[in-house]
């Protein structure tokens, strides 16, 4: 199958190093302490953050840091086939864990001992790269909730098909079965907090692909920063500062 045409165009018209259109909106769920919708092309994710609040289950309480919990789920209508999905299947448990670990690494948990932060992530529409979109949405929601963080975490994926590194795989490219590298970084600190790949790649190619994914993360970070800045300005304006 040809994923990149000899003219250098991907199936959806992007060039290999281009990301899909990204869009973010802060404050989609009024009831939550912080929330955001994040879109990468047709992938659409909503994140809601509750906390820091009292730990619900006392036995889980940590005396020196906050407890971070994360729940990831896909809406039944998020894919074309609209099937009923059982809650807590292996895949979502794994993604919940990955996202929790990634977010925990950037939240300053030691500032909020004996408290709990809940991150709820729901995939509204899935078209590849849900993991990355969830992390980006969670970052925005956490920022919206005013939870102290070391840096923003942003994430993006990259793959390798037809001997070409491709940025931000969509569903069709993702299902091609090639390697798919998901990277999460702290853009200001220039540190990697998440790196996932379930295929074999030679080192030199892997480095190219990972570099590309990191470029993608940085682009996402720039955009998220803009969105946050815009949001802050609106808030300022509303308060009449």
């Amino acid at each position: 199958m040809e994923y990149v045409s000899p003219e250098g165009l991907r199936l959806d018209g992007r060039r290999p190093m281009e990301m899909r259109q990204i869009r973010a909106e802060i404050g989609a769920v009024a009831k939550a302490d912080g929330s955001a919708v994040f879109e990468m092309g047709n992938t659409k994710v909503i994140a809601a953050v509750y906390g820091p609040r009292e730990v619900q289950n006392r036995s889980q309480q940590l005396s020196d840091q906050a407890l971070v919990r994360c729940e990831y789920s896909m809406a039944n209508f998020s894919t074309g086939d609209r099937m009923r999905r059982p809650k807590g299947d292996r895949r979502s448990t794994e993604i919940s864990l990955v996202i929790r670990q990634t977010m925990e690494a950037c939240i300053l948990t030691h500032l909020m001992p004996r408290s709990q932060i809940d991150i709820f992530l729901q995939v509204l529409q899935a078209d590849g790269g849900t993991r990355s979109a969830c992390i980006n949405a969670a970052t925005l929601a956490l920022a919206d909730a005013g939870i102290p963080m070391r840096d923003l975490v942003t994430s993006c994926s990259a793959g390798y098909l037809n001997s070409t590194p491709l940025l931000d795989l969509n569903y069709v490219e993702d299902s091609a079965g090639g390697p798919d590298v998901t990277v999460g970084i702290l853009p200001k600190l220039d540190k990697v907090t998440l790196l996932q790949m379930d295929a074999k790649l030679p080192m030199d190619i892997f480095e190219n692909v990972m570099q590309l994914a990191m470029e993608g993360c940085k682009a996402v970070a720039n955009y998220i920063r803009e969105v946050l800045l815009e949001n802050t300005k609106t808030l300022e304006y509303r308060r009449g500062v």
Binding site: P6, G80, D127, I205
Partner: protein, 883 residues
Amino acid sequence: MLQSKSFVKKTKQGRVVKVVREHYLRDDIYCGASSCKVCDSSVACLSSNASPILIVDTNVVLNQIDLLENPAIDDVVVLSVVLDEVKNKNISVYNRVRALCSNSLRKFFVFSNEYHKDTYVKAMVGESPNDRNDRAIRVATQWYQSHLGGRTRVLLITNDRENKRKATEEGISAETIESYVKSLGRPDLLDLLVHPTSGDVSMGEVEDLRPAKRKVIYSEHKPMSEITSGLHRGIYHQGKLRVNRYNPFEAYVGSESIGDEIIIYGRGNMNRAFDGDIVAVELLPQDQWHEEKSLSIADEEDDEEEDVHLVPGSADDAPRTTNLVQGSARDSNSVSSRPSGRVVGIIKRNWHSYCGSLEPMPMPAGNGGVAHALFVSKDRRIPKIRIQTRQLGNLLDKRIIVAVDSWDCLSRYPSGHYVRTIGEIGDRDTESEVVLIENDIDSRPFSSQVLACLPPLPWLVSSEDLANPIRQDLRHLCVFSVDPPGCKDIDDALHCITLPNGNFEVGVHIADVTNFVHPGTPLDDEATQRGTSVYLVERRIDMLPKPLTEDICSLRADVERLAFSVVWEMTPEAEIISTRYTKSVIKSCAALSYIEAQARMDDSRLMDPLTTDLRNMNALAKIMRLRRIERGALTLASAEVKFQIDTETHDPLDIGMYQIREANQMVEEFMLAANISVAEKILKHFPPCSLLRRHPSPTREMLEPLLRTAAAVGLNLDVSSSKALADSLDCAVGDDPYFNKLIRILATRCMTQAVYFCSGDLSPPEFCHYGLAAPLYTHFTSPIRRYADVIVHRLLAASLGIYKLPTIFQDRPQLTSIADNLNYRHRNAQMAGPGLSRTPYCHLFQETADRHGGQNSEDKIEWLYCICAQVWYRRACVLDTKR
């Protein structure tokens, strides 16, 4: 990096699910005209002279690809919408048009109109995909027209009447391909044109008359929707149609849904299907299965469709068919239970171009005008093809290539068009080129880019090679090679030394081809394409250029050469204790022929070290061979029939067997062992992407011809397992020493061929090699003449950590396609090669067995000989210079 682009979502309606895909439209897609001031002209290839820019529609590409390939047609814009449609309809035409677009000598430009912000077209409500695509083509043409202004003429080439009308209305200049070619003033190009079928512009007036005038010969194909639902309900069966090579009126369709082959008798039931087409078949009622058998084909045809004589005037084919069918029906009651059917529709055509000549015919009056002629393909499975030509006088005594265009149910023969002339009939070069073309073998000399990849001559092992830590210096060993006499491309050599503990160290040294053929170079690409060297009767077509095959890589005597070595420590009982793999430098001390090696071993006076080594190895090889045979390996392929040919006339003078000497078997045994050791090593390191070779166990149906032949001469073979078959073949001894060999050859021909595959595509139990009774096997020992071995060398080097694995191995689909190509090339090389190395000959055996079946005569051997001679004679005819 992220450009701001407007984007439109395109919705495709799938079967049940609605699929939404993003579709980005861009402003950085250029027009490709070098005269354009606005666009980036670095990729421009369309010339800026006065000739118009042609925009072709899908049907023009699909039908007129032979014309487009002619250098007279240039400055063509191929739209991506056209490419997509062509790709869906015919992948081989797609590959050809892609090759044109990437050829720097031709001015073909791909314009990605589907992604350009001004030329993207959204389907309107109620508009069919075809209409939408036609509109997209018109919009793109219009864009070109306005984009290039008045500087260059833009011409839409379409044969679709409706499309042309609309184009003209929209102010686009549009022409049919015929009128364009006529305007070029080149009558020779007109022969390349495919003649329009009904519905196209120029046939309009004739159309109405036709049904009344002509009789319907074949039943109409069912529409695709009906076929699909029929397949779902199980009343139709899908499969690839294979025509019997020796009886073009009989075909088989292997159907997965009923798990058996469906036999199709007669052209009427084949209903215009060609060999290799994917067809939908309807089973005939069971009571007709037997009836079909007892009827001769000709009768049946006459009953069904009274005025169809399939091959009028061809006495050659018809009676023979009748005989054969009657014969086999009489002998084989076992087959009569096989289902027979008829073709109701063709799902995918396998049409390509064919080699052959025109049926002799008188020159029509008014020479120079258009004449209709019948083309007879060299491949008997292909029906005659009707063509139109303006150069009949020129073509009558030539071998020509013709492509098929269409076959409607009103015509007895398909219609096609002339592609090119190969040469005069009977001319030896022409005929051998025909063999090459028939088997898709590239015999062109290597290009200068390929030759540029070779190291400069004279080549010698350099001090860097010797100093390289990955390379072990084995020059002190007494390494020797044993090959057929006169062998110039020596790719394997051996050594054997006795160790102090009584064990033996045995080494197999293979030419280190990958030291010179690097992945991604033109040399490597060329070798990938060729896949194998091809040995023809009087010449060899190399996979790699001669300096490599005969000099730099050839492990000749008394020169230092680079090698890739497998070294075992073996006990005197030939048990492998340890295996070592290394790149090495060797210096062969003798290049022996099989005869020389055998003579040395047999001469008890000789006690020199080389001879002792030979004897030791031979002793080991015998044990290994015995063990292999105990495991159930079939000793089939070792017997080869040798033909003595008259050098002048190329007539066969005598046929005999290659004498299989112990020396041959000895070398073979160690090569097998090396291949198996390497297969184990690479699979251990690269479970998902190793290239291995497997030989599927034959099914009972495949062995049918063998069983029938054996039964005809009073033999009972047990085919329940490879071991059982091997044993019963051992018992099949006739009075003649050759009889057993011939039966073995026949058994080999009845089996499926061994194939290369990518280890990730199958599960381990399927890896097994039936013929060798080995759970794992690959090819490592002939990298000079087989590309598979080159790949395996790279895998082995990577598993030793010497080199990195080339990126291609990450791409499993691509690896699979390489394996498929290798299989295809190997099959073709065998088909083109001389002698009996052809599977289909089992039909010949069968045919003759049937004929001789009833007689309890002593000349069983005789007829087997006859067949060999017959086979050879057919082969020789091709090359015979009958002037």
